[in-house]
Symmetry: C2
Subunit: 234 residues, 2 copies
DNA sequence: AGTTTCTTGTATACAGTATACAAAACAGAC
DNA sequence: GTCTGTTTTGTATACTGTATACAAGAAACT
């Protein structure tokens, strides 16, 4: 067969290019349940019933079972004595640990951003702040956790330290869970964007000490909000 | 669990909504190979080697084998004595049969379109003619079969006869194979759009007899082009 | 004629999923 | 406290889809 035809076969089959990305059904279920937990769609305390999930999804219990057990192993669910599984909240220890590490890593990332950024680097951050404000003004609080995350991702990126970014991202899911908790409160949501504006200004002024302090204060306030919401649950 | 949480679980899992659409790997391969054959990316006479395809796709021979055998059963491939499979062209009988049936069904659909259409119905057809012309002017002949197909689909739709449309669509793949053969030739491609413009005008004038004649002539010319290209292959 | 290469056919193993039945725990009635 | 029914998970088995190894057949080459 001529090479022309060979190329056409390749082109005709380009839709199969995703073959390498094949995942089992159980893996799909796992990823989606995890995402729902992390985003708060299935809140802490929420109960999951294996047979009900399978029925809802129109699949057998086997892949659901596989997914649920993996989530249990990874600390997202705990087995209930009365049947089913419950979504675990993050413990107070988790809060202390996560915000502690964030305080160190993110303030350092901000410091590096203040020192290393180029002028044009700040435009995407400005855009995120504006987008956040727009959604906030419309009372669209559900959109804020994602936009907030994007703002912080951009900030981390300005550190130009892949290892640091990687370390912060190890906490990504816990951070997101806290974020969606904090940003449910409109007042906290407003303060958050004010903090972001202040951070951006300190970075622009190349005030490394100043932005580091702001980031620490930002996280301290966030941590307190989480602790307060835990008190409300008790 | 409150119904609110139940709703959130459903929302969190909406990505799994496509579960019902699961297909085996072999089915994916089958559909993509068939598509490539129908579109002419793998032309008649093209040779397919099971083990080579598997290697190219990065999968085992088993799903490829399943797909190839299904294509053979459905008349797209034939087994070669020297190994591998060859893409079947459509036989002269296929040509006669397909264009014969098209002549009857599509001219009737056009007749109905002339009688039944509303003024605004013709705008999408005008758009397709313009789009076709644009691509033709740029010598982008590869895009023409799809646009041509969309034009005819819109025309069939104006018949407002679901059973008729369904019957025409039973020949959809053969029709497409002829179409990409015919429209390779720039002169034929030009004449095709002129025919479309004439058809649209006859429809606009509610000239049922006229448009029926035009459609028959259009198909007669197309059939001749296919026959001529078969002569060239011998 | 013999050997090598190419390609498909076939068999077996394994992973993933569906489904049926068993087991355990809880709720309610008496 | 006992019994029954319900709910839910645990376990076993069957089936499908896929990967892979080896056999078989045909063509090409020497």
């Amino acid at each position: 067969m001529s090479t022309g035809s060979q190329k056409n076969i390749s082109r005709g089959l380009e839709d199969l290019g995703k073959i390498g990305e094949r995942k089992s059904l159980g893996q799909h279920v796992f990823e989606n349940l995890k995402g729902a937990i992390v985003k708060g769609d299935i809140p802490p305390g929420g109960r999951l019933i294996e047979s009900r999930l399978a029925e809802t999804l129109g699949i057998s219990r086997t892949p659901v079972r596989e997914a649920i057990h993996k989530l249990e192993r990874e600390g997202y669910l705990r087995k209930l004595s009365r049947g089913g599984f419950s979504v675990l909240g993050l413990s107070l220890e988790d809060v202390e640990e996560t915000f502690g590490i964030r305080g160190v890593l993110e303030s350092y990332a901000a410091r590096l951003a203040a020192q290393n950024h180029r002028k044009t680097d700040l435009k995407p951050l400005e855009k995120k702040i504006k987008l956040y404000q727009k959604h906030l003004d419309c009372k669209d609080l559900d959109a804020l956790p994602d936009i907030n995350t994007e703002f912080h991702d951009l900030l981390y990126a300005l550190s130009r330290s892949p290892k640091l970014i990687h370390m912060i991202n190890n906490l990504r899911d816990q951070i997101y869970r806290f974020r969606q908790l904090i940003l449910r409160d409109e007042k906290m949501a407003k303060m958050s964007n004010e903090d972001h504006k202040d951070m951006l200004e300190r970075i622009r002024q190349r005030d490394a000490d100043g932005v580091e302090r702001l980031v620490r204060d930002h996280l301290t306030r966030g941590k307190k909000a989480v602790m307060d919401s835990y008190d409300e649950l008790e």
